[in-house]
Symmetry: C2
Subunit: 397 residues, 2 copies
């Protein structure tokens, strides 16, 4: 008998609700809550079978969250709302003594930082209260860190070079759309690049470093070095790492659109006074861009995300490439959303399962690579995100 | 002794105020009014000498306009506000019996039409009231139509082919900015192309037809066939015209920015509900783009706008090219605004002068080519917009 509360009814929330509903042996009672209850109701209705209860909650407001958590009494809260809301939801979990899981780190509204410091600062309070918090349990961050932990456990004595590679070779047929919340997506992609090398962070201009990389079943795609949040926890948790980088593929048209969006001021995250109202340009842009949750139907092609690792095993140099490919159409047929939401929602579901089955349970605030990767890796293969590994191949990096 | 009221305190209003202030022999008393009085005060202060009185008025509201006109009692109202406001200002002039002049045709808020029909519909009422209304007295529309009338009067028995060519070879040093109100600019440029041929309008896809044209003192620039409002009145007033087209130069980067602005939905003119407020994307975009009035200081290079005409004189084929080149820096030094505002504001000033000196005065609503071009052409040479003419040259079109 377990109870889980999902907060957030976007594409990822849709996937999490679908997946959890299909696993009654783990998730007995499921509540889906968001600012807009009708979005939850629509998802619940599509899933059917009275599997999903729904509720309205403003995740910016701790008292509202506390009241809802106290009335439903979940064993864990799965936060797939906006990253701005991580701290209020963590506060509410702390106050009610309920476990916490999310898929993206907290981000202040007024600056794009992608740092874990605000959430890590909760560690002692969670530890003292005997509550588990699992941070960044989507695909990236999430599975990429678990892949790294799996590699460290089974295939390396020391990891020296880590390159996380994220390719979306899908085509949604729109001139421009982002694959998840445009506000977060554009913030992430337009920031300066950053990677870890020899004990310090090296900063680059946005998209300054790029090269073609070959992705399995896809082929060559221009890949750009960007900063991604899991690098911060991975270099802390795997101190033998000499260099850690993150690469993402972008099409030329996508980058042109981003460049223009910045040039015209629509990527700004500071408010502009308009008709007496404070309006943040990137938030308004989100309102006019295609809804990422609705891209699924015509989305064709695959994503390919993985880790390319070099290091030492038994005194010898070794290379290792572990990845998952996910097909947009297959994801859509199962859950009604495309692969970018699917690859985030399935790991969040598995993470909650790990907690509820006692495999990932420890008082404090943890990144996913701090837990045993093996049971999680086993579930990935069963729950729609099978992985492949290649040993001693040319990893190009 | 004459009194003139300028409505609108943008770049064009700034130029009109400067020019009128420098011509006390024509403009004895000048009032500058706009929605934001502080903008008028700033312009008046810069001009100095107590030449400009200022007032606040909401040009969307006829009663407010009527009250202000009745209190100041101008001989003519020069409308350099938004094209949306042409009809309310025309209503107020009709009610108060005051002459009217504008620089751009009325446009309904909810559709981009660029048609004169709404304003032409006032003709009988203005005629019956004995009031003069002068439409489209900027550069284009405006001087381009006066150039055509001048050509028809002095150099042609029949004009057959008219090509208006508008080149802005200036560089403002910003990644993207529009030269006048971005809302109107983007509406105009992103619409379908349209030209007159053999008694009917031919429609093209946006930017479908383009070719390099050579501009005097500038060189070759890719020029795009777009629709421009003066074509409508010119083919009506010069019925011998077999084909009338309008060409404008755009840089590749400018067009890329426009394409993206459309792709992302920011060129939309229908309201989007955001935070409970109706927001028209293109109006919000205007709020985040650089203010065209502030581009002047670093604007380098020239504009070149003119008419390339083919027709018959004394039974023989003839070509004729009449144009003005205007330097952004020179315009800025004189009035604090760049050439695009300057080339619009100076003709509006001369048009008001034509009315006040009795040279252009007739009850009814008129386009500028319906008046005698000669006194206007003479003033262009004296007031900062000298023109050149070339006979029997290769006009490329």
């Amino acid at each position: 008998m377990s109870k889980v509360m999902i907060i957030g009814a976007g594409g990822v929330g849709t996937v999490v609700a679908h997946k959890m509903a299909s696993m009654p042996e783990v998730f007995t009672e499921i509540m889906l809550a968001s600012r807009t209850k009708s979005k939850c109701d629509a998802i619940a209705q599509k899933i059917g079978g009275n599997r999903i209860q729904t509720a309205q909650v403003d995740a910016d407001k701790v008292p509202e969250l506390v009241e809802l958590i106290n009335s439903f009494k979940p064993d864990i809260v799965v936060n797939v709302a906006l990253p701005y809301q991580d701290l209020t939801i963590m506060d509410a979990c702390l106050e009610t003594g309920v476990a916490y899981l999310d898929t993206a780190n907290y981000e202040p509204k007024d600056e794009a930082k992608f740092e874990y410091k605000w959430q890590w600062a909760y560690h002692d309070r969670y530890k003292d209260a005997g509550i588990t918090a699992i941070l960044g349990c989507g695909f990236d961050p999430g599975v990429t860190s678990i892949f790294t932990a799996y590699a460290a456990k089974h295939h390396f004595d020391e990891i020296h070079y880590l390159d996380i590679v994220d390719c979306n070779a899908g085509d949604h047929g729109k001139p421009f759309a982002t694959n998840f919340n445009p506000e977060i997506n554009i913030r992430e992609v337009t920031q300066k690049g950053k990677y870890w090398e020899n004990g310090q962070w090296v900063t680059t201009e946005p998209h300054e470093i790029h090269k073609p990389l070959t992705y399995p079943e896809i082929g060559s795609r221009e890949s750009y070095l960007i900063y991604h949040e899991e690098l911060e926890s991975l270099v802390k948790n795997f101190p033998t790492i000499k260099r850690a980088r993150f690469w993402m593929t972008f099409g030329e048209e996508y980058l042109t659109h981003l460049r223009v969006i910045q040039n015209i001021g629509m990527a700004r995250i500071d408010p502009v006074k308009f008709k007496g109202v404070d309006i943040v340009p990137i938030e308004f842009l989100k309102a006019v861009l295609p809804n990422p949750g609705e891209l699924g139907e015509n989305y064709k092609g695959k994503t390919s995300i993985g880790c390319r690792i070099r290091g030492i095993k038994d005194g010898k140099e070794k290379t290792y490439y572990i990845y998952n490919n996910c097909d947009h159409q297959v994801a859509y047929k199962e859950t009604g959303t495309q692969a970018v939401s699917y690859t985030t929602g399935v790991p969040a579901t598995i993470g909650a399962m790990m907690y509820l089955t006692g495999k990932w349970k420890a008082p404090g605030v943890f990144n996913v690579e701090e837990f045993d990767p093996d049971p999680f890796m086993e579930e990935l293969n069963k729950r729609g995100l099978p992985w492949n590994e290649l040993h001693d191949v040319d990893i190009e990096l």
